[in-house]
């Protein structure tokens, strides 16, 4: 019976494997939780910095409804973000008009029509495009799009909603393409095979079977593009014209929420009302991108359930 008691002893003893397993569990847990901690920390920091403004000078109706963003006015500074929201929204909206057809078209081509090597090269190219820094896009907006818009549309200034919208659209398209292509690839081949066996043409297979099956993923891709548009700073700072304005046409210059923070934060005294008001814009942006990303996430989750 000695073997049995030996066995019992070994069952009761923590060996090396047990400790390694425990250690790895802890490390993985820490790295997982740290991501959440950082996000919560950033949100807490932004909120704290903007909190003073929220308490004393803040009027929610002025903040959301006034088109006047005049924090440096000596007599009566006003902090209305309506024009900035309009700027961001118009640029993002135009950007989506540009990016959605381009990226969906590209994703359908890469996912459904291109084959073998061509597909691989295109995917690498798309990923390269996605990696272009936003300041480069802003530079293209300033030096190429600006004179081009002046020449083509015969307008005095080429830094406006049109310029920024196109630049932002081209910028968001590669990421949207990449995600949309993933969504198409997630549609099992047996669906395509079954539809083709019924005599459906390639296009019929795509629009009757593949697109409906991938629609949540595609919507997720679009929403992530919208999130990108709201959050983008450098390119819109350079291409919008950076003038506070509720745009009446695509040729009007505007200013974006993000660009306002980037341009003004360095010139304000820490703790001043202006400084705190900029952080309040930060809170606002954080909430909007959070809502967009959450929606996108919930939609993408929706596909997996099916």
């Amino acid at each position: 019976m000695t073997t049995q008691s030996n066995q019992l002893a070994s069952f009761d003893q923590r060996d090396k494997e047990w400790y390694i397993d425990k250690a790895i569990q802890i490390i993985v847990f820490m790295s997982g939780i740290s991501a959440i901690l950082f996000v919560v920390g950033i949100f807490a920091f932004v909120t704290m910095e903007g909190f003073g403004f929220l308490l004393k000078d803040f009027s929610i109706s002025e903040f959301l409804l006034s088109p006047w963003w005049e924090p440096t006015d000596e007599d009566e500074p006003t902090y209305g973000i309506l024009a900035l929201v309009a700027g961001t929204a118009s640029v993002t909206g135009l950007a989506m008009l540009v990016a959605v057809p381009f990226s969906l078209g590209a994703a359908i081509y890469i996912g459904e029509f291109a084959s073998g090597k061509k597909r691989e090269y295109l995917k690498i190219l798309i990923e390269l495009l996605a990696a272009i820094p936003s300041v480069v896009w802003g530079f293209i907006g300033l030096t190429i799009m600006n004179p081009l818009i002046i020449a083509v549309f015969d307008v005095p200034v080429g830094l406006n909603v049109l310029n920024a919208g196109i630049i932002l659209g081209l910028m968001a398209a590669p990421i949207m393409t990449s995600i949309a292509e993933d969504a198409l690839k997630a549609v099992p081949d047996r669906y395509r095979e079954a539809a083709e066996a019924l005599g459906a043409t390639r296009w019929q297979v795509i629009y009757k079977t593949v697109l409906p099956a991938a629609k949540n993923g595609l919507l997720g891709a679009v929403l992530l593009g919208v999130g990108r548009g709201f959050g983008e700073t450098m390119a819109v700072l350079m291409a919008t014209g950076h003038a506070i304005n509720i745009p009446g046409s695509v040729f009007d210059p505007v200013r974006a929420l993000t660009a306002t923070i980037a341009a003004e934060l360095g010139e304000t005294a820490v703790g001043s009302t202006h400084y705190e008001a900029l952080f309040t814009i930060g809170i606002f942006l954080f909430l909007i991108t959070f809502i967009i990303n959450l929606t996108a996430d919930l939609i993408v989750r929706g596909i997996r359930k099916q």
Binding site: R190, Y191, E193, A194, L198, G199, K208, T209, A213
Partner: protein, 257 residues
């Protein structure tokens, strides 16, 4: 042997060899399937049965690795150099071994093929959908939930949905690839009854793992083994001890496979 002088065979295969890259899945198969017969193909896994079916409706275009040599005639027409293989596929209904409920409602699954043919009249579609679902022995189970997703049906129901969908093509040739894998025995028997009726209207090729199923249904049977057609003949003859090849006898009697 069936005399083949007068009638054009529905399907004529001459010296068919199928390769995936350097791997040969099927070599030198020649056979003819006559109109309104049930022709069954039996054989163990890896015999080349499914590959054979795939070239019949030119699904080889789906897989760039897949190449075939030899000739296939459908209604006497060579299918290799078709301009429009979509038109060919519309006339051949295929039921895959694993059910594929397309991600749309039950109704739309069955109405898809008529719609592709250009039938958009709701009343007309209703009639087709009901008839096809009844024939596939599925109507009673799904008539109250035609609007729920086809992919939410159980495995056996999805398989019958696939059969209904193939029938909605009103095919001249119906190809069934081990349809009974995911279906319970009672339903299998019901579908077998339906196949016997369908024979009046169309030609059926039945690939099956169940040797007895071939015996129950098929007019003629071919035995495939390792990419080769070992033997082919009138089903009753093969099963009543007239098979010439020892391997056929062994397989039919369940000694291997």
């Amino acid at each position: 042997m069936v005399t083949t002088t007068e009638i054009t065979p529905k399907l004529q295969v001459k010296d068919l060899t199928i390769r995936y890259g350097s791997h040969t899945a099927l070599s030198g198969v020649s056979l003819e399937v006559m109109p309104n017969e049930i022709f069954s193909i039996i054989g163990p896994a890896n015999a080349g049965k499914t590959s054979f079916l795939k070239v019949l409706n030119r699904m080889d275009t789906f897989n760039s690795e897949m190449k075939y040599d030899g000739k296939i005639f459908f209604n006497g027409l060579d299918t290799r150099h078709l301009r429009n293989h979509y038109a060919l596929r519309r006339r051949i209904g295929v039921v895959f071994p694993l059910p594929v409920g397309l991600p749309m409602t039950v109704y739309e699954n069955v109405a898809l093929s008529p719609r592709l043919r250009g039938i958009n009249n709701k009343a007309e579609l209703d009639v087709i959908v009901e008839r096809c679902l009844q024939r596939a022995a599925l109507w009673d189970e799904v008539k109250d939930r035609l609007d729920s997703l086809g992919s939410l049906l159980s495995g056996g129901q999805q398989q019958r949905l696939t059969i209904a969908r193939a029938l909605s093509q009103e095919p001249e040739l119906l190809v069934l690839d081990e349809f009974s894998i995911a279906v319970d025995p009672v339903t299998t028997m019901r579908i077998e009854e339906v196949l016997k009726e369908l024979k009046e209207e169309m030609t059926i090729i039945l690939v099956t793992n169940l040797v007895q199923q071939a015996r129950r249904l098929a007019d003629r049977t071919a035995f495939f083994l390792n990419g080769e057609c070992v033997e082919m003949g009138i089903t009753e003859a093969l099963f009543s001890g007239e098979a010439k090849d020892q391997r056929t006898i062994d397989y039919i009697e369940g000694r291997f496979g």
